[in-house]
């Protein structure tokens, strides 16, 4: 049974939106999961199980006890061993699906390494916990003309938005007044329920599956925003990039 990949995926291949062709496209695709905390754990869990061919996990931190209520790939043994999140996640995901090529890298994402991390993947998933590194990804996506999915959470709320350079707004379009200096320890300050990143990452993984399998007509037509405490869910319709945003110049340059 282990030798037939279609056995593993047969229930999702039956799903009308995917089929054998969509599954083959997933297998031929690759993603970068930037950050392996709560969002990144769930994204890895879902995309590796779904059969995305190559998954690169990047995170600089070690597993701590305070992570366990929401970071589903880690356990008490990881805390006791003081392991790096990327390594612990990589080990567990390899056991989950040995058919997926897992690349686990312990490093801090920065201007100096982001192009290399994003250049050879089809899609980047933002599972970060801060503004400055999200802007690093945003700007690299524009330089490289690479799609990415912004995913952010706080309290009981979250946002998910697919960003395609030149076609959709970029992060700077969506949050024109956010500066790296606005950064605060968001979750340490506001708090977070474990359900929220799980839900946001599920939405982001779902968009990733649509995108990677070629089901672009099924993509959410805007930014998904939700508050699970007040039972709110909406898709904010968005036109293209803001005409005065730096992204327009970056993506129109030859």
């Amino acid at each position: 049974m282990m030798n037939d990949p279609n056995d593993r995926y047969k229930k999702q291949i039956i799903f009308h939106g995917l089929g054998a062709e969509g599954q083959a496209r997933l297998r031929a695709s690759s993603v970068l999961i930037a950050g392996v905390g709560a969002l990144g754990s769930m994204l890895g869990h879902l995309l590796v199980r779904a059969g995305v061919g190559r998954v690169r996990l990047v995170d600089r931190d070690r597993v701590e006890l305070g992570n366990l209520h929401r970071q589903i790939l880690f356990d008490e043994e990881d805390v006791a061993q003081n392991v790096f999140k990327a390594q612990a996640a990589g080990r567990k995901l390899r056991m989950t699906n040995s058919q997926v090529q897992i690349q686990a890298e312990v490093l801090e994402i920065s201007q100096s390494n982001i192009d290399q991390l994003m250049a050879d993947v089809d899609l980047t998933l933002d599972a970060l916990d801060n503004i400055p590194t999200r802007l690093v990804i945003n700007d690299a996506a524009l330089r490289l003309r690479k799609p990415w999915i912004h995913c952010g959470v706080l309290g009981s709320r979250g946002n998910v938005a697919l960003m395609i350079p030149g076609r959709t707004p970029c992060l700077r379009c969506l949050f024109p007044n956010v500066q790296p200096s606005d950064n605060i320890p968001w979750i340490d300050t506001i708090g977070i329920l474990g359900t929220i990143p799980a839900f946001a990452a599920t939405l982001a993984a779902n968009e990733a599956l649509k995108f990677l399998s070629g089901n672009h007509a099924a993509l959410a037509p805007g930014m998904i925003q939700f508050d699970l405490w007040s039972n709110e869910f909406e898709i904010i319709p968005l036109q293209g990039p803001a005409q005065d945003c730096v992204c327009v110049r970056m993506t129109s340059a030859v």
Partner: protein
């Protein structure tokens, strides 16, 4: 008969500006624990106002007059992970 599907919207006087809507919304959320904390820590709510799919910068709030049928969305910043 009239059937409401989705949001019933919100009434504003003819000629109201986007800044009126922004002020009303900010007041409505004045006691929201997250918005309060964000204002304390960063000096601003970080709310983003979108009219008919276009993000509006704060310096434009006073120049935009609302029209019947305008679709105004309010985007909150969530930058944890």
């Amino acid at each position: 008969m009239r059937v409401l599907i989705g949001s019933p919207g919100c009434e504003f006087l003819a000629g109201a500006r986007l800044s009126d809507l922004v002020a009303a919304y900010e007041e409505k959320l004045a006691d929201d624990p997250m918005i309060k904390t964000l204002k304390e820590k960063t000096g601003k709510s970080h709310l983003v106002f979108i009219v008919n799919g276009v993000v509006i910068k704060p310096e434009m709030f006073d120049q935009i007059r609302l029209q019947t049928g305008d679709d105004v969305r309010i985007q909150h910043p969530y930058f944890g992970g």
